[in-house]
């Protein structure tokens, strides 16, 4: 074994206390890094999986909001009233057809998101987010993401709401009102002024994904949701008004009065025909919902965004890149985002957790660097005579540097591996037993109430790199101190 390694290893053994302190610190840092990163990565993978499969698909395409804000599954807000009107997809019909034709795209699903207040009693109100969907497209996009607990999922053209289980149970507990299927409930929307609508409950459901962030979100038929959101409903936008009718609407009250006076268009004996009123004729007139069904079809008009699912083997990132380039070249007011962008605030919880963790890592690293540095400086002061002797005997500075670098590198690798093994063991145990979220905020980061974290090898490699860096950085100053020791110190060590 080269003498440098021999001296370095034996010195580590000789100065056990120093070795234990530094290796423990590096092991602790490594342990926390690997554990934290693995938990965050597992959470992120869980959120990714649940979002892509249940909520966002692979890609979200929508118009940018105010100040170029990215569109999101939850419009301009989440979990509360959406006071800022969310822009709708421009030139929807053509955009829809264009996206359907994009190579690699398998399913296209337009959606609207809006919040409405359910008011069951005077004292109990709850803001609930609702997805308004094209039933056929939504079913194609997410064929198996819901668990219907009562009733049924909204049928095409059916007016009503799907109540999320959490809201249903809370309401039942607080008000004893059972929002069972068929019950009509009062909903208030605030888009473009307060609007009230009574809608029947079609069913009670929960998402199969255990993502806590989306337990408050229900479904509403698209027409009602557009109405409550103050969006231009397809039925209105499609009415063609001719010039005569427009002039009539623009006319003032006096002229309207004259319109209905004796000399006006209404004759004393209008030419009416009388028909007997029967159940069959009433059903014929009122039961025909074909017009309404026509108006709520996907190509009817206003949608907040369109979700895309890519074919197997197609990289969504590549499709997003192509789409954004194409939107730009065609001057289309649209952007394409991945699931993370689509998740908006929910993904930002993970980003916040990662940022918090990063700050923690920086603090740990700084503390480790300081403690390691101090320990090493003390050790070098103790070894002044030894270093001075080596210099006097003919060792140049690079030789001394190599000894200390070897010591630091060995400590970092050994400490790092110990930390990695300990973190691996704990992660293995947690994977088996499950790690319960200690707080509802953690449920978002965890992607559910219980997490089964897995060791992230990428994180482990990164952590080892960080720990090596910590080791090297913390040895820079002590090595500098060692290099400053002159051979004359060997003579002065009496």
């Amino acid at each position: 074994m080269p003498v440098i390694l021999s001296i370095a290893f034996r010195n580590l053994r000789e100065h056990r206390l120093k070795t234990v302190i530094i290796a423990s610190l590096i092991a602790l840092g490594m342990f926390l890094l690997v554990l934290g990163n693995s938990i965050i990565d597992t959470g992120k993978a869980g959120i990714h999986e649940s979002f892509v499969r249940s909520f966002s698909g692979d890609i979200l395409v929508g118009p940018p909001g105010k100040d170029n804000a990215k569109p999101s599954l939850f419009g301009g807000g989440f979990g509360g009233p959406n006071m800022e009107p969310t822009k709708t997809v421009p030139d929807y019909k053509n955009t829809y057809e264009y996206l359907k034709a994009v190579p690699g795209v398998e399913v296209v699903d337009p959606q609207v998101y809006g919040a409405a207040q359910i008011e069951l009693t005077e004292d109990w109100r709850a803001f609930v987010g609702f997805f308004g969907v094209d039933i056929a497209a939504y079913s194609a996009m997410f064929p198996d993401n819901l668990e219907i607990l009562q009733g049924h999922f909204l049928a095409e053209g059916e007016e009503g709401v799907m109540i999320p289980e959490k809201v249903y149970l809370e309401a039942l507990e607080k008000t004893k009102v059972d929002m069972k299927p068929g019950e009509k409930i009062k909903l208030m929307g605030f888009g473009g002024g307060t609007k009230i609508k009574f809608l029947p409950v079609a069913g009670v459901f929960r998402f199969k994904s255990s993502n806590t962030a989306l337990r408050d979100i229900g479904f509403m038929d698209i027409s009602s949701l557009r109405y409550l959101q103050g969006m231009v409903v397809g039925a209105v936008s499609q009415i063609k008004i001719d010039d005569t009718a427009q002039n009539l609407m623009d006319s003032d009250i006096a002229s309207l009065d004259s319109f209905f006076d004796d000399d006006g268009v209404v004759s004393e004996a209008p030419g009416t025909t009388t028909k007997s009123l029967s159940q069959a004729s009433l059903d014929n007139i009122l039961g025909d919902t074909s017009n309404r069904a026509e108006l709520v079809k996907a190509d009817a008009g206003a949608w907040h965004y369109i979700l895309l699912r890519t074919k197997d083997g197609v990289d969504p990132a590549a499709v997003i890149k192509d789409l954004n380039a194409d939107f730009k070249s065609r001057n289309m007011d649209l952007v394409a985002l991945d699931w993370e962008g689509a998740a908006g605030v929910v993904a930002s919880f993970v980003v916040a957790a990662q940022t918090f963790f990063l700050i923690l890592v920086i603090i740990i690293s700084i503390v480790s660097v300081i403690v390691i540095m101090n320990t090493m400086v003390v050790s070098i002061i103790e070894r002044t005579a030894e270093i001075g002797t080596m210099r006097a005997l003919g060792a140049n500075k690079s030789y001394i540097r190599k000894i200390f670098m070897t010591e630091t590198f060995t400590l970092s690798v050994v400490g790092g591996l110990i930390g990695l093994v300990l973190a691996g063991i704990l992660l293995f145990v947690l994977n088996r037993t499950g790690l319960p979220a200690p707080h509802s905020l953690f449920e978002i980061i965890f992607g559910g109430k219980i997490m089964h974290p897995v060791l992230s090898w990428v994180s482990a490699a990164q952590a080892l790199g960080i720990m090596l860096l910590v080791g090297i950085v913390s040895s820079l100053y002590p090595t500098m101190v060692a290099l400053r020791i002159q051979p004359v110190k060997a003579m002065q060590s009496n």
Binding site: V3, A392, L393, G394, A490, S493
Partner: protein
């Protein structure tokens, strides 16, 4: 720089070779806001094969002069020439090489590397050289040195398992391992009892005779001083006596005198 063998050849032919030359050397140390002049214009020469004692009381400048001869300190003024090379102005790398090739050190506190055993401590200076030493020859040479200093049974022992005298013997072997022209010993007997101290000096003298290695040691022990054949006495940073083989040796080097004659 002449090789040790060339110097030996010169010595055998009766030529006097000057290895160390100090010319009006001064050394000033800062001490707080004041300065202390440890060496005040010292000049002397040391010849090849001499067994030199630099004697004087504490604070007389012995260690400072020894440090300057050992190239581990530089003079504030004047010149120090070692084996024909002026040490002032040499780069750290060059002066390190000069130390490694020309000078061996014996320290008062032995200064062995604690984590290496006797054999490894002696071998250590050889491993600092640019050329990889021949393994067999190295082993034989180190074994010879270990036998020479009487530590054959202790070759695998660590310094902390040895007595003071044994440690100093290891240090002597280590100082000789690179076959230096000069061995510097800073009060080599200071941490030893008088009997062991005498044995160490006897050992150094024996090696000096056998290998023609120049030994320069500092001491304030009068008994040891008398063993030297060249005595330089110091007082308050000045040379007060310079006797080489019983004859007064002035500032002019013996080699120069020989040439003049």
């Amino acid at each position: 720089m002449r090789s040790h063998l060339e110097s030996l050849e010169d010595a055998k032919k009766g030529h006097i070779v000057t290895l160390v030359e100090l010319n009006d050397v001064r050394k000033v140390y800062p001490l707080g806001k004041t300065e202390v002049e440890a060496v005040k214009g010292v000049s002397f020469c040391i010849e090849q094969g001499d067994f030199v004692s630099i004697a004087g009381p504490s604070g007389s400048g012995k260690s400072t002069i020894l440090n300057m001869i050992g190239c581990i300190d530089v003079p504030t003024a004047g010149t120090v020439t070692i084996d024909g090379r002026k040490t002032g102005g040499l780069k750290d790398r060059d002066i390190t090489r000069l130390r490694h090739e020309v000078i061996g050190f014996i320290f008062q506190s032995f200064n062995l590397i604690p984590v290496l055993d006797v054999y490894e401590n002696i071998e250590f200076p050889l491993l600092l050289g640019k050329q990889k030493p021949d393994k067999k020859a190295t082993r034989e040479w180190i074994d010879y040195l270990i036998a020479e200093v009487g530590l054959s049974q202790w070759r695998k022992h660590k310094p902390n398992e040895l007595s003071g005298g044994q440690r100093q013997r290891v240090a002597i072997a280590r100082a000789l391992v690179t076959k230096p022209k000069i061995v510097l010993a800073d009060e080599p007997t200071a941490n030893l009892d008088s009997k062991t101290g005498e044995q160490i000096i006897e050992l150094m003298k024996k090696i000096n005779r056998e290998m023609d290695t120049t030994f320069i040691f500092s001491t304030h022990d009068q008994k040891i001083v008398t063993i030297a054949d060249h005595i330089i006495r110091l007082m308050d940073g000045n040379v007060i006596e310079n006797l080489r083989k019983g004859v007064n040796a002035d500032a002019m080097c013996a080699s120069a005198q020989a040439q003049e004659e």
